[in-house]
Amino acid sequence: MTLNPVDQAVISQALLSAAREMGIKLYRSAYSPIVRDGKDASTGILDAEGNAVAQSDELIPMLVGSLSITFRSCAALYPVHTLKEGDFYICNHPYHGAHHLQDILIFVPIFHDGAIVGFSAAVAHHLDVGGGAPGLNSSATDFYQEGLVIPPSKYNLTTDWNDEGPLRRFIGANIRVPEQTLGDIDSQFAACAVGAARVTEMCDKYSASTVREAMAEMIAYTERRVRAAIAAIPDGTYTAEDAVDDDGLTDKPLPVRVTLTVKGDDLHVDFAGTAPQVKTHMNAPFASTVSAVLACVKAVLTGGDVPFNEGASRAVTISAPKGSLLNPNPPAPVRARMEASFRAYDVVLKALGQANPDHAVAPGYDCTTGFCLSHLKDGRYRVFIELRDGGYGASPRNDGCDAVAGPLSNCTNTPVEQIDADYDFFRIEAYALRPGSGGAGQHRGGLGSVRAYRILEEGVRLAIYADRFRIPAPGMAGGGPGAVGSCIIHRGNETIAVRSKDDVALRKGDLILLSSGGGGGYGDPALRDAADAARDRQLGLLAAD
C-alpha cells in the first residue's frame, strides 16, 4: 500500500528538516572554523540499509551524495543486524568512501521498539588529524603521512567514547590539537542524537513501517525528479576536457576528460582518458569524484529545489578508470583532492552546457587555494589556514560573479580583524579585487582577488596547494580565458614565485601576494554591450592600460 500524499509530504519535510537541524547543531557547536565558517560538513538521515534519504542542503556541495559509500564499507564488516543501542560506525579512510583523512564520518543507528529504522550520519572536516605536518602536509607521498587512519569500524558510545573512553584517548593521543578535534567529534555525536530523536518521534506518531515506507518513496521521488531533468536534454554523447596544472613535482599538466552519455532518462558520466594517479596529494578518491559530479548535475539540471539522496545516484552512474587521478589506488595521498574534483566539476559543467545550451556556463577559477601559515613558538604550534575565492565563469545571461568561494565549497574568508586578534606572526596588509582578471567576452568572467600577508616573525612556514597558476579557466563560445592565479613573495628587492603546490620557509618582513584568478568569459568580446563596458570602466574593474 502506498502512503497517502499528505503523510508522504509531511514525513519528507520532517526528514529534511531533521537533517538540517542536525547540520545546525553540528556547525553551531564546532570549534573548527572550517566547519563553523566554511560549513565543511554534512549531516543526513539514512534508511535501515544505509541508503541516504535526506541530507542537509545548507552545508557545502562537495559532500553531496557520498555518505552511502562509507556506510557500505562499515556495514560489510559489521552487519547492521549485529548493532546494539549505543553502537556507531566511524571511518575516515579515503579508500573506503571518505574524501580524505580530515573528514571523519560517523553513523549512529536509530532504534525504534528494538529494531533499526535508519541511521543518522554526520561528517565534518577536522582541523588536524595528525600526520606529517601541522594542518597540511604537502610533501606526503602516501596517505599514511597525511594523518591518523580510522578504518571502517564499529565502536560503542558508552564503552569506547564517553568519559575518556579508549577510542577518544587513542585519537586524542595521535593528533596535535586534541581539544578541538575531539570537541568537534562530540558535536558530530550531538548532531546524530538530534537526528535520531526526530526520527524516533516520527515513528511514534506514524509507526516505524510508515516512516520506512516514506523513506523509500523519498528516494524514488528524487530519482524521478533527476530522471525528468535528464530526459529533458537531448540524447547523445558529450565530451569535454580540462586539466590540473601539475602534480607539484613536474610541470606536466594532468588532463581530466569526461564523456557524458544521455540516453532517455539515464545519464552516464565516464572519466576515461583522465591522467593516471600522481605521487603527490592531488589525487581525488572516487567518493570525491562522485560528489563533484552530483553537485554539478544538481546545479545545472535540477537546481536547489530537489533534495539529493540515493535516488540521484540511481539516475546518474559514474565511472573513472582505476588508478587514475579521479579513482586512485591506495596508498596514493589525497589531501588536496579538491583541485582534481573541481576539474571534474568543470568538465561536467562544460559537457552539460553542450547538451543544455540554456544552462551553459563557462568554467570559473574553481580552485580551493588552501593557504597555510604555521609557526612553532614556545613549543606550541600556531596554524592559520584559509581557503580563497576566485571568479566565476560567465554565461549567456550575465557576467561571472567576482571573487566568491568555489562552487563545490562555500567557505567564508577570515575577517582581517579576527586575524589581527588571533595571530601575531603575520598581518594582512591588503585585500582587493584584481581588475582585468576576468576572461573577456560578451559577458566577462568574474574577477579574482589578491590578499597581501606581511610576515612579522622569524620561523614561519608557508604551505600551499592551489591550481590554475598555469592553465587558466577557459572561455566559452568565443570568450577569453580568465587570468591565472599566483603566489609571490617580496623579500627586500627580491621576488620569489611560489609554485601552486609548495612548502616554503619564510623570513620576517616577507610580503606574500596571493592572487586568485578569474572565470572564463562567454561570447565574442566584440559583442559586449557598451553600457556594461562603460560600467566596468567607471568601477575601475578593467585592466590598467
Binding site: N4, P5, V6, A9, V10, S12, Q13, A14, R20, E21, I24, K25, R28, S29, A30, Y31, S32, E58, I60, V177, E179, L182, G183, D186, S187, A190, A193, V194, T222, R224, R225, A228, A295, A299, G303, G304, H359, V361, D389, S395, R397, C401, D402, A403, V404, N410, C411, T412, N413, P415, E417, D420, A421, R427, E429, Y431, A432, A452, L539, G540
Partner: protein
C-alpha cells in the same frame, strides 16, 4: 491620549489609548508619501494633534530607502589596502547551487570608496600614523569630484582605538561643515570589518532619508499644536524618542515585525506567559520569534536586502507559508505548499479578485474553518465556490476529494511552520515544549493549535484583536537603548575587575544617552557577555546578573559560561579544562513608561455573531463543530472543534483542545484538557 501608528504595506493601523479604553482605526497606506498616511490615520480616528500626549510610530521608510536604493550618494573611507571590503563581502554565496549567481550591489560603488593611509591594530596600537595634513587635501579633492551627500568612515580595528576615525570626522566638521558624517564606532564597536563597514554605510545611507521624513512629520505636528512625545520603533523591539533615532538611524531598519512581537509579548504577559514563541501568519509569509522571560531573542546576524547589520534586532525567522501560499504538485509528484504566493493581488481565489490558483486561505474556506460570511477587517465576503473551483483540477489530478486536498494542504503548511520553529529552537538551544505559542496576524490563530500539537506545546495564547497587534506593540514598547563593544578579556584572576570596569563604562554611556533624551528614572539595565573557549570560532551569549556585579568572581563567570554552553550543546565539548575568554560586551537599558491596558479593552461593543452548528473537515473527516463569536467564550473551558470570530481574525480550536477567555481577554487554548 496615547497613539500608536504603524505603516504596513497595505494598511496603516492606528491604536489609540485613553481613559475610555482602546480604539482601532485602519486606513490605506500611502506608499509614495508615507508620512501622509500617518496624518490620514490620525484624522480618520478623529484625534486632534494637540490632544496627543504620546505618539509612537513604526515605519518602513528606512527599510524602503535601502530596498529601493533611494538614499543620497555616499562616500566610504576605508583603511588603505581594503577599498573593496563591500565588494568582497565574506566570499560565500547565498544560493549554493545557482550557476548564474551574482552578488547584490553594494550601497557604495567602488569609485566612491577612498583608502586612508593608516593602520590601527587589534590592541588599539597604531602601526601606521594618519597624517591629516597629507590626507586632508586628497579627501577634499575626492569629495569635490564626487559631490557626495554623506560620508561613512570605517577603519580597521577602530573599536579598539577610534582616534583615526575621529581625526577624519573632526577634519570634515571643520572643512566640510554640514556634510553628514558617520563614524563606524558611533554605530557599532564590534569586530569583523565587513559587517561593521556594511552597518556603518547603512547608517550613513538611511540617516538623511529618515531625518527628512521626521522633519516633515514634526513640522506638521508642530502646526497642529502637538506638545507630546514623539517616538519611533526600533528593530530591537524598543522605541526611542525621534530625536535619538536620527543619530542612530540604522536601528529603524526592519522595525515593523519587531512591533508585532513586542505587542504579543505584552499581551501574553497579561496572562502570565513570559516564555513564548510568536507566530505571525499574514498573506505571504509566517514570521516566528522566540521570547525568553519577556524579552525577544535578539540576533546579531540580521540582514537588510542581504546586507548585514550589526545591531541587536528582534530575531525573526520568515517562512513562505501565508494565506496566499499556493498549493501545487511538483514534477516528482510531491504535494507542496508555498513558497510561491498569490500575494495581495489577485490573492486567494475566494477573495473574488481574479485569483484562480488554490491557496491556503481557500483551503480554510473549503474545510469550513473560515466561514464564507466572515468579514475580517472589513474585507469582502469570501467566495466559497471560487475556492472549490480553484482546488478541483488538482484534486482530480490526484484522485482525491476537494476537502481531502484542502485539508492536506493545511497539514503540509503546518509541517513547514513546525520545521521552521524546530530549526529556530535548535539553533538557539531551546526546546519548544517550554514555551506557549502566541499566534497573531490574519491566519496565525487558524493554524496555531495544530502547530502546537506537532511541537508538543500544550498552551496557545490568542491575543484579542490579533490583527492590529503591531500598532499596539508600539505603545506597549519600552524605550530601549543598546551598546556593544569588542574587547577581549581572558577569564583569569583580573577578569572581574576588567568586566566591572568595561560594563560600568558602557552603562554610564547609556545613562548619559538616556539623560540627553530625558528618559525617566525607572531604568532597567541588562548585560550579555559574548564568550567562548579560546580557539572556538564563534561566541555564545551569556547573560550576566548585574545585581551581582560588585561581588563578581572569575568562578562565577566560568560557571555562567559552562551553564550556557551545556544548555546549548548538551554533549558538545563540556567538562574539560580549557581557557575561556570574553570577546564582546553588550548592554541594554530599558525604560518603561506607564502601563497599557489589554487589547481586549476595545471601546464599543464586541463583535456578535449568532452561534451556529458547522461542519469542519479536519484530519480526513467531517467533524460537527460550533461557530460563534469569540466574545461568547467565557472563563469556563469549551471543548473544540470551534470556529471563533472576532473583529480581525478567526480562531480554530480543533478536537482535543479547549478554549477559555482569561481575565486579560486572551483566549487560552489547552491541549488534552
Amino acid at each position: 491620549m496615547k497613539v500608536g501608528v504603524e505603516i504596513g504595506g497595505t494598511f496603516t493601523d492606528l491604536v489609540c489609548i485613553d481613559e475610555t479604553g482602546v480604539r482601532l482605526t485602519k486606513v490605506p497606506s500611502t506608499p509614495r508619501e508615507p508620512d501622509r498616511g500617518v496624518f490620514d490615520a490620525i484624522a480618520a480616528a478623529g484625534i486632534p494633534l494637540d490632544g496627543m500626549a504620546d505618539l509612537a510610530h513604526g515605519s518602513t521608510v528606512a527599510t524602503n530607502a535601502v530596498l529601493e536604493r533611494k538614499g543620497s550618494r555616499l562616500a566610504l573611507l576605508t583603511t588603505e589596502g581594503f577599498r573593496d571590503v563591500l565588494q568582497l563581502r565574506r566570499q560565500d554565496r547565498e544560493q549554493l547551487f545557482d550557476i548564474f549567481y551574482r552578488k547584490p550591489d553594494p550601497l557604495v560603488p567602488r569609485y566612491d570608496t577612498l583608502e586612508v593611509p593608516e593602520r590601527t591594530v587589534s590592541d588599539g596600537g597604531i602601526a601606521r600614523d594618519l597624517d591629516m595634513a597629507v590626507f586632508g587635501p586628497v579627501l577634499a579633492r575626492f569629495l569635490d569630484e564626487g559631490q557626495h551627500g554623506a560620508v561613512a568612515i570605517c577603519l580597521l580595528n577602530s573599536f579598539a582605538n577610534p582616534a583615526h576615525e575621529r581625526a577624519i570626522a573632526d577634519w570634515l566638521a571643520e572643512h566640510r561643515p554640514g556634510l553628514p558624517v558617520t563614524c563606524s564606532v558611533d554605530v557599532t564597536r564590534e569586530f569583523r570589518e565587513y559587517e561593521r563597514t556594511s552597518t556603518a554605510t547603512l547608517a550613513a545611507y538611511v540617516q538623511p532619508v529618515l531625518d527628512a521624513y521626521l522633519r516633515r512629520i514634526e513640522a506638521r505636528l508642530a502646526e497642529g499644536g502637538f506638545a507630546g512625545r514623539f517616538s519611533m520603533m526600533q528593530s530591537n523591539g524598543g522605541r526611542v524618542p525621534a530625536a535619538a533615532i536620527r543619530r542612530n538611524a540604522v536601528t529603524a531598519l526592519l522595525s515593523g515585525p519587531a512591533a508585532g512581537v513586542t505587542g504579543a509579548i505584552r499581551q501574553a504577559a497579561l496572562s502570565g506567559h513570559r516564555d513564548i514563541i510568536t507566530l505571525d501568519i499574514g498573506g505571504t509569509s509566517a514570521d516566528v520569534c522566540l521570547v525568553q522571560d519577556g524579552r525577544p531573542e535578539l540576533t546579531r546576524e540580521a540582514r537588510v536586502d542581504t546586507l548585514p547589520v550589526l545591531m541587536p534586532m528582534v530575531d525573526i525567522t520568515t517562512i513562505g507559508a501565508g494565506g496566499g501560499s499556493l498549493v501545487w504538485v511538483d514534477d516528482g509528484g510531491l504535494l507542496r505548499v508555498g513558497p510561491r504566493s498569490a500575494g495581495a493581488d489577485p490573492g486567494p481565489a475566494c477573495y473574488g479578485r481574479g485569483g484562480t490558483q488554490p491557496t491556503l486561505t481557500d483551503a480554510h474556506v473549503i474545510c469550513g474553518r473560515l466561514p464564507s460570511d466572515a468579514k475580517l477587517a472589513g474585507a469582502l465576503p469570501l467566495d466559497a465556490g471560487a475556492a472549490r473551483k480553484a482546488y478541483e483540477p488538482l484534486a482530480a489530478e490526484l484522485g482525491m476529494s476537494v476537502e481531502t486536498l484542502a485539508d492536506s494542504a493545511i497539514q503540509i503548511a503546518v509541517a513547514n511552520i513546525v520545521s521552521a520553529i524546530r530549526l529556530v529552537s535548535t539553533s538557539r538551544g531551546r526546546d519548544p515544549r517550554d514555551y506557549a505559542l502566541v499566534p497573531f496576524g490574519g491566519a496565525g490563530p487558524l493554524h496555531a493549535a495544530a502547530v502546537a500539537e506537532a511541537l508538543a506545546i500544550d498552551t496557545v495564547v490568542v491575543p484579542p484583536n490579533a490583527g492590529v497587534i503591531s500598532a499596539y506593540g508600539l505603545l506597549a514598547a519600552d524605550y530601549s537603548l543598546y551598546d556593544s563593544l569588542t574587547r577581549r578579556t581572558a577569564l583569569d584572576v583580573g577578569a572581574p575587575e576588567a568586566v566591572r570596569a568595561t560594563l560600568e563604562e558602557m552603562l554610564s554611556g547609556l545613562h548619559r544617552r538616556a539623560d540627553a533624551i530625558s528618559l525617566g528614572a525607572d531604568r532597567h539595565p541588562e548585560a550579555v557577555l559574548e564568550m567562548r573557549y579560546v580557539g572556538q570560532a564563534f561566541e555564545i551569549p551569556v547573560p550576566l546578573d548585574l545585581g551581582g556585579l560588585a561581588t563578581l568572581t572569575t568562578e562565577a563567570l566560568l560557571d555562567a559560561f559552562a551553564a550556557e554552553h551545556r544548555r546549548i550543546y548538551r554533549l558538545g565539548a563540556v567538562g574539560q579544562v580549557r581557557p575561556v575568554e570574553i570577546v564582546s560586551y553588550r548592554v541594554g537599558l530599558h525604560v518603561p513608561h506607564g502601563t497599557v491596558p489589554s487589547l481586549a479593552e476595545i471601546a464599543g461593543p464586541p463583535l456578535t455573531v449568532p452561534e451556529t452548528a458547522a461542519t469542519i473537515f479536519d484530519g480526513g473527516r467531517d467533524r460537527p463543530a460550533r461557530r460563534m463569536a469569540r466574545a461568547a467564550i467565557g472563563a469556563d473551558p469549551v471543548a473544540g472543534p470551534l470556529a471563533l470570530q472576532d473583529l480581525t481574525a478567526m480562531v480554530y480550536v480543533p478536537e482535543g483542545w479547549t478554549a477559555a477567555t482569561d481575565p486579560s481577554g486572551n483566549l487560552i487554548l489547552r491541549r488534552g484538557a
